[in-house]
Symmetry: C2
Subunit: 234 residues, 2 copies
């Protein structure tokens, strides 16, 4: 917990190489699914957060343990507080698993036709034990915000992450769009997140999503001992 730490940003697909195998144009379907995360997903989420921190060269600031996450997440109904969409992929169709259907959210499924099948060097670590072939590929964490000008809530996206071998396939856009879609359907006024000003790829990605980058605003942060100093200030 360092006072100067920048916040974890949503991370769009960077220009990372992709693991490839045989090539058949469009002949390699990647079945993808977005569903609400559950407490059982915490081990995957903790690993994804750690990978995000490494990507941002901020691994030393990423101290969250599975126990930290378990004690602070999944305490409220989805969308009313901190909410996580988990992205799963499979080379086979998903089983019709009604366990992930809820009155809050119906999983979003999409088939992405790739020219090459993906080689996932971490397939074992991210394999979803229940469904055999299913692998956790990314996540987005968001929570309600409020605009006094609009007089209505919105969503703030704290993290958006897709594992390296699954980038540049539209999955990051699918995750962010799922949050935007949820906001629109709830009648919310906006979705916001932050981006590093030098991350041109990300800014282009967000622009294509229809977002504006606000040039004049800066984030202020009170944390660590500077925050603690206010404990008994009143």
């Amino acid at each position: 917990m360092a006072a100067a730490a920048p916040p974890p940003p949503p991370t769009p697909a960077p220009s990372a190489p992709t693991g490839l195998s045989d090539s058949t144009p469009g002949g390699h379907p990647l079945f993808s699914r977005i569903r609400l995360a559950t407490p059982l997903d915490i081990p995957y989420i903790q690993k994804l957060i750690h990978q995000l921190a490494i990507f941002e060269k901020l691994a030393d600031l990423s101290t969250a343990t599975e126990s930290d996450l378990a004690s602070t997440l999944f305490k409220s109904p989805p969308f009313h507080s901190f909410t996580i969409f988990l992205l799963e992929v499979s080379s086979r169709p998903f089983e019709n698993d009604s366990a992930f259907h809820s009155q809050n959210f119906t999983p979003i499924e999409r088939i992405i036709n790739l020219d090459h099948s993906v080689i996932d060097p971490e397939a074992e670590a991210f394999a979803n034990g229940i469904n055999g072939d299913v692998v956790v590929a990314g996540f987005v964490l968001f929570f309600p915000s409020y605009s006094t000008f609009l007089g209505k809530p919105g969503f703030y996206v704290e993290d958006l992450f897709v594992r390296e071998c699954y980038r540049r396939k539209g999955l990051g856009k699918m995750l962010l769009s799922a949050v935007a879609s949820q906001a629109a359907r709830m009648g919310y006024g906006r979705v916001e997140w932050v981006v590093l000003d030098w991350n041109a790829n990300a800014i282009k990605f967000y622009d294509e999503m229809g977002a504006n980058v606000l040039p004049e605003w800066r984030i202020c942060r009170l944390t660590g001992s500077a925050l603690e100093a206010h404990r008994d200030a009143n």
Copy 2:
């Protein structure tokens, strides 16, 4: 609801003139109190939001009605969702009003000794009907955020506003510090907000509070028709 609208920032005391009356060094106590707002305070809050929008030269973007606020605020226990601290002032001691004491928050009271009594040109519009001499002077709206790196919640401050004639007396600091104190006592990891990069007075104020301004991050916003376009994207 304009796509390019900057968010309402916390607004610290600018160099505005103060209404003055007779001068007696330290002889004019201003009794100040921070308490949790209630639905009964919505008319004051709506007016304060409108004043904030005018101060930011964004009045055309501030469309929230009392009805909008009533239908979206005070839906959850304090600190679990959107939360408002109301700042009240009085030239006389506050009555021992236990109505504002709750298990969630004990009001914070402070006496500020001024050399001049404050002339409040809007005293009538902001008079608290219950307590006679008590006047609403400002507010802060905040809600829980989440840091995946810390694995714990924080608070995000959406608005901080003190009416013009009560600025430069430490009341803005008292409001922001009340949020920071609450965060520290709840074991939260950080308090964040945004500031306009040209607002040197505000940046100095926040620096004195112990906050860091993060230079590299930019806010991205998806709103209006661009947000609506994602409604059925999945």
